[in-house]
């Protein structure tokens, strides 16, 4: 399926708005939690990457959905942006195809891995903290 670049560019912008909100929330919870006093997201101590805090967030369905949305938007926005930068160097059509193929494989592969981690992580966290 050929998708015109104007359409892909529109998706690039839509993904940026999704990231602004949801990745902004993620960054605030993970990296500004002390200064913004976001203890509600990290109830087991100040360090948001301690397993208890990670499990607390991971087992919530809302976070599973947010993780998957951030993952999809982040991968598309980042990889399409990188592709645009590389294409400005005016590579041959053959190299363009290689870049597109590589980014597609990377993007889909990491989307599958990240989605699995979000869903399986929720199951693991629910089982361990029940």
């Amino acid at each position: 399926m050929r998708m015109p670049h104007t359409k892909l560019w529109s998706w690039h912008i839509i993904a940026s708005v999704v990231l602004l909100v949801l990745l902004g929330l993620h960054i605030a919870i993970m990296h500004l939690n002390d200064i913004l006093n976001l203890a509600g997201f990290n109830p087991y101590g100040a360090n948001p990457i301690d397993w208890e805090n990670v499990a607390f967030r991971t087992k919530q369905l809302s976070f599973t959905i947010i993780y998957i949305l951030v993952l999809a938007a982040g991968l598309f926005h980042g990889l399409y942006g990188t592709q645009t930068i590389l294409f400005e160097l005016n590579p041959s059509p053959r190299v363009r195809n290689w870049i597109t193929g590589l980014f597609l494989i990377m993007g889909i592969g990491l989307l599958v891995l990240g989605t699995w981690a979000a869903i399986a992580g929720r199951t693991t966290a629910l089982a361990l903290t029940r």
Binding site: V17, L20, H31, G74, L79, G81, T82, N90
Partner: protein
Amino acid sequence: MPEKRTYPNRLGLNGWVFGGRWGVERYLFILHRLTGLGLITYLLMHIVVTASRALGAEWWDRSIGAVTGPIFTFGEFLVVAGFAFHAANGLRLVLIEMGWLTGKAEEPIYPYKTSLNVQRPFMIVMMALAAVLIVMGGVDIFAAH
């Protein structure tokens, strides 16, 4: 299939990094690209590292332990700083793209009002916001370690 017309990129990499006598927005464009490339590189690694949470506490502690230390703490700060700048500048770019920050078309009467001047106050506000977020991130990250 019609032949694709291409234009040689005569400046190559120099065209990416050197803004010459262009305004400050041209240098924000360079920084936007650099932070974007840094963030996507980090995201690719971040997905792999944090996938270990699916396997339980022991795997999580092991994978996080592998990316802990002063260098990674500084890297964490760079990620927050890069995100703060990329998000603030990106919001400006989206609003310009939508035509909301370029001003209405009008007759060119001296002194000329350009679309760059219309968006500039917002650019200053966004850069100030990014600076505040970067300082907050630095305080939170380095005070906690």
